[in-house]
Symmetry: C2
Subunit: 191 residues, 2 copies
Amino acid sequence: MKELEERILRDGKNLGGGILKVDSFVNHQVDPLLMDACGREFASLFASVGATKILTAEISGIAPALTTAIHLGLPVVYARKHKPITMPDQVYLTLSPSHTKGRMVELIISPEYLAGGERVLIIDDFLASGATIMGLARLAQTAGATIVGVGALVEKIFEGGRSALTSMGVPIETLARIISMDGDQIVFTDD
Amino acid sequence: MKELEERILRDGKNLGGGILKVDSFVNHQVDPLLMDACGREFASLFASVGATKILTAEISGIAPALTTAIHLGLPVVYARKHKPITMPDQVYLTLSPSHTKGRMVELIISPEYLAGGERVLIIDDFLASGATIMGLARLAQTAGATIVGVGALVEKIFEGGRSALTSMGVPIETLARIISMDGDQIVFTDD
């Protein structure tokens, strides 16, 4: 998606070590009109997968998942990383390595909002190693739900997450695909 | 806002101790069309305050702040509770008591995205004691920004947050105002 790639080139920062800072329009400050455009694009790309629910992980997946949900008219569930007091004792929980925290984080979903038979579209901000998305998929499958698609705003191709997800056999759509972050560059591919 | 009140009566749960569970449409699962309608309502209520930026706190403030931002066409910044590695060393930080966690949490904003001269509209999910909103206001004022309005989806009038905020002298708008949660009731007021 041209608009997102151009924004990354203009306002994104390559901090080294494969870390892309997009805090000025995705992760701390959010550009709502860009995020709305990304949600519309995901809604178009996944219009025919028959999703009944969108699933993401707090915190930075919420914005793109919500705008996609608005355009598809579907509820969105965000996995929590800490169990709030409003959640029942029995939950779906998995561990997932956090790239930016350097440790494992919990991903928790209440069984109240993820049931067998649901057709789940996963939307997140980044597809890097694929670990967070695999964690979300495990939770959904444990609940008896079916994954029908995976979308991410930014794919870091060089981290290989896409091949980790291929075994799910569902469409994977990303709106900006980075092939290299060597030096201080950010290089996209159209493939 | 009738639509929100009716949803709270239908799907909200009074867990006792003043805790209202709205996890099925605001805080864990999100109803995107309801949230979009709430954002449109805030945008209408605050159309004339001259805001240049919307400010909220992660996690559950993000959804209503983002939909308000879409309708006003303004950037939204969400205060982080943990400093990510992409944030500079020098930040705006304040402590705020968390009702649901029973301890103090940090609210952190990067100076990159909150500057002197900004006119800040604060949007959050709950106005209870007002502590989180006061924390956000302190951060904005430290940055040299001016608060121009405060909006929350749900006000728990019996926690008295509104009077704590009155000294700011800005419009305070809430979309559902709960006057009592005695027993298992949820009672609204139109005042």
